[in-house]
Symmetry: C2
Subunit: 447 residues, 2 copies
């Protein structure tokens, strides 16, 4: 019986009304694991479980619930319960939550928030999407230069409970201008009588509220940061960003790149809860653009109908040429796009990149071309056809990989997103040019 | 004059031999920024700059130098200088460094390391690539249950200087078995007389040395961790992993996925320093495989040469059909591959995904198909051709997107990497099937 209880999940303990064991289990559990249990429960049970959480754990668990569970749950909560949660949430989590909810829910949430919380949330909501301001929290520990290390620890103990991080403290002057940062590590290793001003670091790394969150993520990666201060245009400290939020930003930015590179408009919504029309809308724009471009590619074939009528064997080669060209081009464009995204390649490297791609593609194209000459010669006993295909493939791979590497660089030069110059667009452009090359070579060799 | 000096970079100060200003600048600067300056300097100057660094900053700067700069620099250093650096590096950085260097350099480095450092490095080098053990460090703060909070702080102050993080401390028993963790936040908020055992968290999140680093990264993302303990098979604490290393892991794993999805074998080497043969080798395998598959696609065309001879207008449509099919398929496969990579989609969702993709593709294919019927009818006054193309496109998009969503799921089922089932492979498969559909519809309608 005892072992049975130990093996039961939180959801199962709740079903079995083992309230004592449930309380114990919840006290030990991580809020994130508790949040996961909610998804397995009926709506009514969710409210029961939520109410059995210790007061100070409720907001932590709430922050990690999926949006639809949040919305369902707060319908069952009383106004004071709701007020308690919203005041207890970290402000950046509160803002994320508000942004996910429909207007009617937002109104009720804000009505039940304390004046202070409501003011802070409204302020954070004003920052543009994807800006540093939109992902920061205003809950940080601020110190003054004139404090001793002992006084600093006293302040951290007093206010630290509600702060997102206490390990980096921010030193500001009377008008809230950011003067320096000091870590708890430095404070711990310093003498209690030292002044904060004498041990703080003044060579600061910080972001402005309007900075793009991608740039902020780069700062975190470059400097291995745990937290970053955010200032307004007068260098007043207005908030901090912590590394856990940056991990989310990086995940979202990577997803955006994957989508763009597959010719899909990026979306914030999870796939499973997205509507069919919404998903179709994200796909059809680029599919139409690329389809219309491919119609032009088709018109090249029409121009060369005569030679195809005389040598129908040339037609069967078209898919292989187009596919290999598209794949070769997308290899190069992917390498360059990713290299630029992680800061390894820069526009100024264009000549080195081009020279390298020409050599790599000549090697790859040469091998594939030679294989084709040999194979088709043996398979069809038609040496001219073999030569036509081999040379065309050689030229196609070189063309594809130089185009594939240059297009993302061109996009960067024009201040467009290099990720747009990925497989789909490169393929379409390579198709047209490789058919032109193919038919020209065919005319020269077969006639 | 003064403003001039203030505007000069570290490299420029060095060239101008402004030693006093240089020392001052270096004292204020971030090690990462100093490391960046090295790339602008000649080899001789690099040694000069490195020797003017304060003793305790040298290893920090060294850790952030690119591999080729490290190798050049240590050739110029004396054995004691080298010994100092290797002993001062964080162990995980030391291991990364050793792994990048040629064997002769490694030998010299290890000979100059202290016995302790050499032993630790050799131990860490034994863990398999991409395992938790290979990215961990053994520099953590360990506490005992019986210590008071005051004693814990005394220990942190004593040993904390050389630890990668002090903010999470690990509580072990006599035989180094991991019993709990306690954060500096908890310690700061507790009474000095409290016992560590009474305030530590025993509901632990940890990894084993053999766990895949991708799994470790998932734990960091799920639980918003700053550091994670790593244990051996007997639950002895052997190391910790910090969030800055995880950010690198995530970047590398994403790059790997981008490469795989573009049919390139992943590589650890930076593009600009990779050789032409090396780069070509990473590309040619998949290009060959896909090329040979495309030859089979071509043979489908050969089978239908007759109908193409009668209606040559059908040929010009092939690129548009193949491209649109490929693009549509890669849209679906990308969405599913990425959804699984970020843990949003699971194998068990397959029916929901399939049903959604059928509806989305029918909508998208319907619109694109209808456009083609209309356009070709007007452009060629050939209603039958318009109908053939329209229906083929409709069928192609549905086929492409259902194949595109199912193949990554199938890969997952077979315990293969879903990222292999991306654009290139999907395109090749879709090509063949869309041509079959196209010619069948053409025969039915045009005859």
């Amino acid at each position: 019986m005892e072992t049975n209880v130990a093996d039961m999940s939180i959801a199962e303990l709740l079903e079995a009304k083992k309230h004592k064991e449930l309380k114990q289990r919840i006290a030990d559990a991580n809020p994130i694991d508790i949040a996961e249990e909610f998804e397995k429960l009926s709506r009514g049970r969710q409210a029961v479980l939520f109410r059995s959480l210790p007061k100070d754990a409720a907001a932590d668990v709430f922050a990690y619930l999926p949006a639809e569970n949040k919305e369902e749950l707060i319908e069952l909560l009383t106004d004071p319960e709701l007020g308690h949660i919203i005041n207890d949430l970290f402000l950046d989590d509160a803002v994320d939550f508000i942004e996910e909810m429909p207007a009617s829910v937002v109104k009720r949430v804000l009505e039940n928030a304390s004046d202070y919380t409501r003011k802070q949330i409204n302020q954070l909501l004003q920052y543009e999407d994807d800006s540093a301001g939109s992902i920061m929290t205003t809950e940080y520990v601020d110190l003054k230069e004139g404090m001793t290390v002992g006084e600093a620890f006293a302040r951290i103990r007093r206010v630290g409970m509600d702060k997102e991080t206490i390990y980096t403290c921010y030193v500001t002057d009377k008008s809230r201008v950011l003067d320096g940062v000091v870590t708890v590590r430095t404070l711990l290793l310093a003498d209690a009588a030292n002044l904060v001003g004498s041990i703080m670091k003044t060579n600061l790394i910080y972001a402005s509220t309007g900075d793009d969150r991608e740039y902020v993520a780069e700062l975190f990666q470059k400097y291995d940061l745990i937290a970053l201060p955010v200032v307004d245009t007068e260098k007043h400290l207005v908030g901090i960003i912590t590394v856990d939020d940056i991990m989310e930003v990086l995940e979202e930015e990577n997803t955006e790149d994957f989508y763009k590179m597959a010719a899909i408009e990026p979306s914030d919504e999870p796939y499973l809860t997205s509507g069919v029309f919404g998903l179709a809308k994200k796909r059809i724009f680029w599919l139409s653009v690329l389809m219309i471009s491919a119609v032009f590619t088709g018109s090249i074939i029409t121009r060369y109908e005569q030679i195809l009528a005389i040598f129908p064997a040339l037609i069967a080669v078209i898919p292989m040429l187009m596919d290999t060209g598209g794949n070769a081009g997308s290899q190069s464009s992917t390498v360059i796009i990713r290299g630029m995204a992680v800061g390894e390649l820069h526009l100024s490297d264009w000549l080195k990149i081009l020279w390298k791609e020409i050599r790599v593609s000549a090697l790859v194209g040469g091998i594939l071309g030679a294989f084709n000459v040999t194979y088709r010669w043996f398979a069809t006993s038609n040496f001219r056809l073999g030569m036509t295909v081999g040379f065309s493939l050689f030229a196609t791979v070189i063309l594809a990989q130089t185009l594939g590497c240059m297009l993302p660089l061109l996009a960067k030069l024009l201040r467009l997103d290099p990720a747009l110059m990925a497989a789909p667009l490169v393929t379409t452009l390579v198709d047209a040019s490789c058919l032109l090359v193919y038919f020209s070579i065919a005319e020269a060799i077969m006639h």
